[in-house]
């Protein structure tokens, strides 16, 4: 059991099994849509978790990259008749480049300064999207043309369920491989102590930048996926609250846990749907649950439970 848990492919395999198993359980398109939203959020959260959980850097502007990815598949096909898939890649490329250029000066900063700098960056992107209405449709958003693959129009909740599920599994697989690579080791060293990592010969600024770029690409792809699923984008996807939501998902599920990213995303996407029955007390209950989880399971749900199980079952 412990060997299984320790295996580096445990998380992606578990996620793949969940995606397949749920497809047989979920009764209607509504549930499939909620699941697809979970997969999309989880994808962005895995990327952010690489940055927060493994490299120990906080980004409060990740929705900026998410929004850029979303608007890439909306704007590029509409303005330049680019195929949505190429637009998705272009969005990811642009986000990677922006993260590279912006990251170089920002990642010299530490702690709160880094958080504030990324916060500013995210807000800047959100403002640009809301204000350049000739390009982005402004605060009311703009439609996204339907994705066509080999003459087949991609639509329907179950189709998107499988596409987003596959994206998530791919993202999780890439993430665990990254973590297991020499780069991953350098990142963890950096997380534990930047000074020690530097003494051990790790190029701190270089590795921080790499992981920032990678996490930006994850967010961008997730944003593109959401825009394609919805067929419509609004600046909400890039706003500050969404950045906070992503960070909360990371912390709730467990920093440094790929599977925790899925759990965190699942809780924050599914719970509001469950709690609508409580009407006025919805936000109260959501806040209460988050507080209790953070107090009882201090290092996030998955790592805390894993540690608990390891202790009780020697």
């Amino acid at each position: 059991m412990r060997a299984l848990l320790a295996h580096r492919l445990a998380a992606p395999v578990a996620i793949a099994l969940i995606v397949v198993a749920l497809a047989f359980v979920l009764p209607s398109n509504f549930y499939l849509r909620v699941a697809a939203l979970v997969w999309i959020s989880a994808l962005a959260v895995i990327g952010l978790n690489l940055l927060m959980g493994f490299a120990g850097q906080v980004s409060l502007g990740h929705a900026g990259f998410f929004g850029l990815g979303a608007y890439a598949v909306a704007v590029l096909p509409a303005q330049f008749s680019l195929h949505p898939l190429l637009a998705l890649l272009a969005g990811a490329l642009v986000c990677g480049l922006i993260a590279f250029v912006v990251g170089r000066p920002i990642l010299r900063l530490k702690g709160h300064y880094l958080a504030v700098a990324t916060l500013g960056f995210g807000i800047l992107i959100a403002m640009a999207i809301a204000n350049e209405s000739w390009l982005t449709g402004g605060p009311d958003g703009m439609p996204v043309s339907r994705l066509t693959l080999f003459g087949w129009r991609v639509r329907g909740a179950s189709t998107w369920y499988w596409i987003t599920g596959a994206l998530l599994v791919l993202g999780a697989w890439l993430a665990v491989n990254l973590v297991a690579s020499p780069t991953g080791r350098a990142l963890r060293a950096l997380h534990d102590s930047e000074v020690a990592a530097r003494v051990a010969g790790v190029d701190v600024a270089h590795y921080k930048l790499i992981v920032f770029v990678i996490s930006a690409v994850y967010a961008s792809v997730a944003g593109s996926a959401l825009a394609l699923v919805n067929g419509f984008v609004t600046p909400d996807s890039a706003n500050f609250i969404h950045s906070i939501e992503l960070v909360t998902m990371v912390v709730l599920g467990g920093m440094g846990s790929v599977f925790g990213s899925l759990v965190g995303a699942a809780i924050l996407v599914v719970l509001p749907q469950v709690l609508t029955t409580f009407h006025d007390y919805e936000h109260l209950l959501l806040g209460l649950m988050m507080m209790v989880i953070m107090i009882v399971l201090r290092s996030g749900i998955v790592p805390s439970l894993a540690a608990l199980i390891r202790r009780t079952r020697p």
Binding site: N29, V270, T276
Partner: protein
Amino acid sequence: MTTLMKRMGLAALVAGAAAMASPASAADTIKIGSSLAITGPASFLGDPEAKTLELYVKKINEAGGVNGKQLELVVYDDGANANKARTFATRLVEDDGIVAMIGGSSTGATMAMIPVFEDAGIPFISLAGAVVIVDPVKPFVFKTPHTDKMACEKIFEDMKAKGIAKVGMISGTGGFGKSMHGQCLGVAGNYGIEIVADETYGPKDSDMTPQLTNIKSAPGLQAVVNPGFGQGPAIVTRNFKQLGFDVPLYQSHGVASKSFIELAGDAAEGVRLPASALLVAEKLPDSDPQKAVVTGYKAAYEEATGQPVSTFGGHAYDGLMMLVEAMQRAGSEDPQAIRDELEKTSGFMGTAGVVNMSPSDHLGLDLTAFRMLEIRDGDWVLAD
């Protein structure tokens, strides 16, 4: 361990899924869905809309329901978030099994929900403003509020009648101001209006004197228009007075609430704006065919909620009543039949005006629906 984790995750998701499932609907109720911005930055829209729907569904049910069946209203709060609205729309169609939909407080939320209802073939009456919702016409999508384009046309019509041709514009950069600004530029030519100055301000700006000074220096200026809502127009109005303009100021229907007059104070005196008859319900002449509807709604809303009536709740009233009449005419609650009857709505008197739908017009209001109001002694009066 992996299996255990997997099970935990699965159990959590399935438990969530089970909890979401709503009880099966009884066959003798008609389910109507709604997703509104009850909380969040657009709650001034969603809150009166939700209260109106709940109030009138209750009244209709007490009076025996529709076609002998009780109405059942399912309302979700999307906080004006388009992605959430889309999820709730899917939920209403797939899970709650609604036959018709009212709502979408904001244009973004409405546009995100449209594909869901078009695919499912369920009539959707939006309560949001922008003209893109019904232009081009989509078979299952209707809307009740006036469009910003109509507000521009009403203002320019009034100007043309007064011989005003050179106009300065100062627009908010929020969704409403931006959209209306574009529409005004588009229709200005039709009324022989020339925009001689065009300035903007941000949603959080606290002083618009520089922009207004620029406008004031524009040669031949005869009037100023201010599309926007929130506190921006109130600040513009105060700065406008301080700078001693000698031309009229036109606001939009976006400021049609008592709080605007309170914020702008004395400076609001003489400001003109196009708005719904609801604001001047008691002041309408008895001969006005709209008087009974607007005074009736105003009294009912204010008595039930203890809050002053707003035009936004009125849009929800119009949508619900149009829907009920369509169901009565159809004699069934088949979504396709309701849609067909909604499209045939004619001579319906709502709080927004007379509605005459057609296959090429899913709004059905014309310029007479707007009243040109003026603010005098801290209250709205009919301008003409």
